[in-house]
Subunit: 231 residues, 2 copies
DNA sequence: AGCTGTATGTCGGGC
DNA sequence: GCCCGACGTACAGCT
């Protein structure tokens, strides 16, 4: 990783065209050739960047650029697309390189995928006698989180969210419409399951005959595996 | 802006809980107190971070942490929520500070608004004889991008996206439902126009009788203005 | 301030 | 590799 603090301007062309006026910024060059231009504020998103795979070439400015005070031209070219970032470096204020090695990466806890696993394993939380058909049950417009059957054998489509919002109800509604056209499945009931269900989402779901189930993540995890979880 | 390269581990708790094992990383502290942990690969997104407004406090490790080799504990606390990032610094390999000043920010060019202008000006791309009624045609739930009439005088509501996704089809569907209640307009046809239309969105649109049109931005721009474009 | 739609989104998982 | 949905989405524009 190379850290350069420099007065520079930049131009990006690719999915859009954009331009950064001259100012002092951090230019971060990662081991894979990717480049990030950071200002001293804002969010974690750089002002401009090039994602890997890409290659960095450092060259001399032409006469016109020299006239404008440019000392180096950094061209970062994406390997597959024609995305390109050109940085005109005027003055370098800091330049250091560091060996970081491979990063083990972030370990997350408590996401939707895990909720889905847990509910699939404890499908009778929906009521006694429920059986799992499959997770990620495919439809023409995308997979339903869980398809199950209740004690009476009626198909149940389940949409799982960490936070149950109106979007999730809309999503489930689309799935139900499609699934109910399949004579092997119809009629299909809908269940909207989330750790927390927003009042508006509950109203909409109820209005459409979709049941709401609030999931207790900690309780479900406790049932499923008493051990595990790194922390 | 302060740049620190250090062997460190970190823990984030807030909307989720996450943990970074010990490794060598860049710790970037911005002037507003925000902190970014970057590895030497990946994209522009940090492994972990804290967005402003937040405050950084550097403290001593407790006895147990010293035992594990921790030399400093950096606690970054979000000002409004209870989001918190705790970095345990084991060894500092580089530490430098830099004055960057205010950044003028990125200047963009060429987004959805421009597509809308172009299609309004070239409305016959939808078929000969189409005429523009108006852009941003108002409805109770928001403006339709374009309202037009075809050669036969039938009203056509057009939703424009750069990338045509299912959400866009839903949006247009809501508009069509409302517009079709207006006896002066009904029946209203729907057209979903985008530079790229996802297969699932196309399936849903077609199923609802909405036509799909793929827009060639470069060709449309070429027709509309041979000159212009700042760069 | 809350809501909505966009994003050079990025990221991870299934097929 | 494509396609799709989640994300600590972030962010800008508008009501």
């Amino acid at each position: 990783m190379r850290l350069v603090v420099a007065r520079c301007s930049a131009r990006y062309s690719g999915r859009l065209n954009a331009h950064l006026p001259l100012a002092t910024r951090l230019v971060l060059v990662k081991a894979d050739g990717s480049v990030l231009l950071h200002s001293d504020g804002g969010s974690y998103k750089p002002l401009n960047w090039m994602s890997p795979p890409c290659s960095l070439a450092i060259g001399e400015p032409d006469a016109e650029a020299v006239e404008r005070g440019v000392s180096q031209v950094w061209t970062v070219q994406h390997a597959k697309s024609d995305d390109r970032l050109v940085v005109e470096v005027h003055e370098v204020l800091h330049d250091s390189a560091h060996e970081l090695g491979v990063d083990p990466g972030l370990v997350k806890d408590g996401v939707e995928a895990h909720l889905q696993e847990l509910l699939a394993a404890q499908i009778d939380l929906l009521g006694g006698g429920h059986t799992l058909v499959r997770r990620e049950f495919p439809t023409a417009i995308g997979p339903v989180d869980i398809l199950a059957r209740d004690a009476a054998g009626v198909a149940v489509a389940i949409e799982i969210k960490r936070r149950g919002d109106i979007d999730g109800v809309e999503q489930l509604t689309r799935y139900l419409e499609l699934l109910n056209r399949d004579p092997h499945l119809a009629p299909v009931r809908g269940v909207f399951a989330a750790q927390e269900i927003k009042p508006q989402a509950r109203v909409l779901a109820t209005d459409r005959g979709i049941a709401c189930v609030v999931l207790d993540y900690d309780a479900m995890r406790g049932v499923d595996d008493v051990d595990s979880r790194l922390f």
